[in-house]
């Protein structure tokens, strides 16, 4: 993509979900090892995948502006070419670095705010389990919290390598989700907020580790 991992960090990545979408579940099952779930940004450094995913952009990385000024700080030495609409866009976007929230500003009515957030309760199905659960994605701030909650909910799991593992049965579960276009995706491939906005239901897919059956 022409941009190194350094530029990617903290960026709002144009979701390269196009690439990820091509991967079907059968491919997953076939190439289990190669598609070991990590939660780093696609193509970027995978070290400390969880943290990268959820880390809020620090001051130095955001467009740093106080009210009233229109200075723009380019980021990461970058490439503000047409490939990075988000970079250019945030540059031109104006002072949106962390601001204190003021009551009732901007003047958007609360039913409208709630309407957009949508119904973030999703059903969670676990392969092999007879019951479904529901989780409200809104209440979690990242993938780690979600997995932790799932672990607590289905109490037989432990989190290992960002998969859910049932140590008793010796099976691994990969969290997958159905998005609003009806495609099944791996949990963790897109930024958290985008995931919340597009996830319709979760399925913990049973992948037995490669052991003789």
């Amino acid at each position: 993509m022409g941009r190194g991992p350094a530029e990617r960090q903290g960026d709002r990545v144009e979701m390269s979900t196009t690439l990820e979408k091509e991967r079907s579940l059968t491919e997953l099952e076939a190439d289990y090892e190669e598609t070991a779930l990590t939660l780093g940004l696609p193509g970027g450094s995978r070290a400390g995948g969880w943290d990268q995913q959820e880390r809020k952009r620090g001051f130095s990385e955001t467009v740093h502006l106080s009210d009233g000024s229109s200075g723009i700080e380019p980021r990461g030495g970058g490439d503000l070419g047409d490939e990075s609409p988000d970079c250019a866009a945030s540059g031109a976007g104006g002072p949106r670095a962390s601001k204190a929230r003021v009551v009732g500003w901007p003047p958007v009515r609360s039913y409208r705010k709630n309407a957009l957030r949508g119904c973030t309760y999703v059903k969670v199905a676990v392969d092999g389990a007879p019951y479904l659960r529901k989780v409200d994605l809104e209440i979690y701030s990242g993938y780690h919290q979600l997995l932790t909650a799932l672990q607590e909910m289905f109490s037989c799991f432990t989190i290992r390598d960002r998969r859910l593992v049932d140590p008793v049965k010796g099976t691994d579960y990969i969290p997958t989700y159905e998005d609003k276009d009806g495609d099944w995706m791996l949990v963790g491939d897109v930024p958290w907020k985008m995931f919340v906005a597009s996830c319709k239901r979760l399925r913990l897919m049973n992948i037995a580790p490669r052991a003789p059956r």
């Binding site: 709002r12 144009e14 979701m15 979900t17 952009r57 955001t62 009210d67 009233g68 000024s69 229109s70 609409p85 988000d86 250019a88 866009a89 945030s90 031109a92 976007g93 104006g94 002072p95 949106r96 670095a97 962390s98 929230r101 003021v102 009551v103 009732g104 500003w105 901007p106 003047p107 958007v108 009515r109 609360s110 039913y111 409208r112 705010k113 309407a115 957009l116 949508g118 119904c119 159905e178 609003k180 276009d181 009806g182 930024p191 907020k193 985008m194 919340v196 906005a197 319709k200």
Partner: protein, 589 residues
């Protein structure tokens, strides 16, 4: 005919001044039936005593813009034959959480009076009122002819209250609970009996809970006069398709989510259902639109005049495709996910456009949730629309950046604005290119748009902006101001210069007692004044209250810390005297 001639003779014999007085009441009342708007009726009632009486006997609809400006008993005394009531309660800034809960505007005392004065009441339209389940139950049982209930931005009730309405109102034609805060107690409230067929309008779009779909489907099937149907997010595409098949006569439709539904066999079925709806002029809902299903809508778009996409995170390309199918569009509401490119599509497709509202998809968060950036809209989208849509007269525009030059261009292209509401979401942001205040932008608006009735300003503004408003905005009725102005002079200019001002709402501005008191003469000709987080003190408000006894001067005191400061002040004219139901945190001075 003989009688008529007699009366004509009588009239001719009398002197000119007496001709009006001898006009028979019955005739006058018959004529007045055709005078409908409350402004015209007010004018009629002021001509002379006979006309006042004829008017009050013949009035069937009363509009009360501020529920505390008059008491229900006074209304009942003056107007004996009311069938329809419109009431508005809380100040508008309560929509943005600036008014504490339990502030008031309870409908119940009104219902009690109406139950005895207007037992044949048919319509009740409420905005920003508190309505409890007990009140809804009382309403349903007290008015056997009741037909239309509209609750916009109301709160205090639950689905139980709705159940009372659907169970007992045998003649209901309209039930509209949009944008209200409804407590969801589950259960089934859609309890219309199977014999009930009179429904013409049903809007429960903002209800959080699921409705019994079978009951809804049967209801829609048997109500052949149903014209307006706006469902909520729980009605999926296959269910929507079934409803449309039963109600092809709909003129206004609000869908549920427009995304993947396993139960929908094919989108061709859906498209076919839409193509049967030849009378649709209004379309809304469309949560979570999936581009796969959007084309199913196209056959129904030919006659659309109002398209509300303000819940739909649409991209510019999808919007462009959709708009090409809507040649007759007059009103368009969108989210800023469509960006400037989307607005360019509006400009090229919607030449008849009169109203545009662009809402922020993500007003508080910094993060992008959609592909491709998500920067919202800018001044260039605004200019583009003005170039393509010369009939534009109503705009509500949320953005993060604007320039004086762009606004000047917009109003040059569209000089007929009656409603101009620009919200630069970053507080006190100047022209981002020149770094100057946005004074000249709003100066251009008021100088060019002589028909301007409603204005909302934003961005960095000095007193100069308000000087412009006071000098040029002679038809201005409503003004909203936030984080603007430099001194008392700003507010004074407006109060002195805008003769038609009725509603003034101000927050977080450096206007103090001098500004407040400069409007002494004005407030009785206005509906209300709201000032919060300004520089008002209790003394200043008390002085106003003393000098103007027919105004209610109310201070909302939420914390005990600063006794002298008047944090939130609400001033309004009233013939009912001070409120008798004020909660402890509302001090009437």
């Amino acid at each position: 005919m003989a009688i008529k001639k007699q009366k004509e003779l009588d009239i001719e014999e009398k002197s000119p001044e007496n001709r009006i007085l001898s006009f028979p009441d019955e005739v006058l009342e018959r004529v007045l039936v055709f005078v409908k708007t409350h402004k015209d009726r007010s004018a009629v009632s002021l001509v002379c005593r006979d006309w006042y009486n004829a008017e009050r006997w013949s009035r069937t609809h009363v509009f009360i813009g501020n529920c505390y400006s008059v008491s229900p008993e006074m209304v009942a005394r003056r107007f004996p034959n009311i069938r329809s009531v419109t009431l508005k309660g809380k100040p508008r800034f309560s929509d943005f959480n600036l008014v504490p809960p339990n502030w008031g505007s309870d409908i119940h005392p009104w219902l009690v009076v109406f139950a005895s004065a207007y037992p044949f009441l048919e319509e009740l339209r409420l905005k920003r009122m508190t309505v409890t389940d007990e009140s809804l139950d009382f309403l349903a049982r007290s008015f056997p002819e009741f037909k239309a209930l509209s609750l916009v931005s109301c709160d205090g009730f639950s689905t139980d209250g709705l159940a009372s309405i659907t169970t007992y109102c045998r003649n209901l034609t309209e039930l509209d609970i949009q944008e209200s805060g409804i407590e969801d107690l589950g259960g089934s409230w859609l309890n219309f009996p199977e014999s009930f067929t009179s429904l013409e309008a049903l809007n429960f779009a903002n209800l959080h809970s699921e409705v019994n779909f079978d009951a809804l489907e049967r209801l829609v099937a048997r109500c052949k006069s149903l014209k307006v149907l706006k469902v909520n997010k729980h009605v999926m595409l296959e269910q929507l398709r079934r409803l449309l098949v039963r109600a092809p006569q709909l003129t206004e439709l609000g869908t549920g989510p427009f995304s993947q539904d396993h139960k929908l066999r094919s989108h061709i079925d859906l498209e076919s259902a839409f193509s049967n709806c030849k009378n649709l002029n209004t379309l809304s809902g469309l949560w979570e639109v999936s581009s796969m299903y959007l084309p199913a809508l196209f056959p129904a778009c030919t006659n659309l005049t109002f398209l509300n996409l303000s819940y739909t995170a649409l991209q510019s390309a999808e919007l462009a495709k959709l708009l090409q199918k809507c040649p007759l569009l007059r009103r368009l509401w969108v989210l800023d996910t469509v960006e400037d490119k989307g607005l360019e599509a509006v400009a090229s497709s919607c030449h008849l456009l009169q109203e545009l509202r662009v809402f922020p998809a993500d007003p508080f968060e910094q993060e992008v949730i959609m592909e491709g950036g998500g920067n919202g809209v800018t001044e260039s989208g605004f200019v583009a629309v003005s170039e393509g849509c010369p009939n534009l007269h109503y705009v509500l525009y949320f953005c993060h950046q604007m320039t004086n030059a762009a606004v000047a261009t917009v109003v040059r292209n569209c000089p007929n604005f009656t409603h101009f509401r620009l919200c630069i979401m970053d507080m006190r942001r100047p022209d981002y290119l020149t770094n100057e205040p946005m004074d000249e932008a709003f100066g251009a608006v008021v100088k060019t748009c002589s028909k301007l009735r409603r204005l909302a300003v934003s961005g960095l503004l000095t007193d100069r902006a308000f000087e412009y408003i006071g000098t040029y905005a002679k038809n201005l009725e409503t003004l909203s101001v936030a984080f603007a102005g430099s001194s008392d002079r700003g507010m004074q200019c407006v109060l002195e210069g805008c003769p038609k001002l009725r509603k003034l709402e101000i927050r977080d501005c450096p206007f103090g007692n001098a500004a407040l008191l400069s409007g002494l003469e004005r407030y009785e000709s206005m509906r209300s004044l709201w000032m919060s987080a300004c520089n008002l003190t209790m003394n200043g408000c008390q002085l106003l209250a003393r000098k103007m006894p027919r105004l209610n001067v109310e201070v909302i005191k939420e914390d005990e810390s600063d006794d002298m400061h008047a944090e939130k002040v609400y001033v309004y004219r009233s013939v009912a005297g001070p409120r008798r139901d004020a909660p402890p945190f509302v001090l009437t001075l």
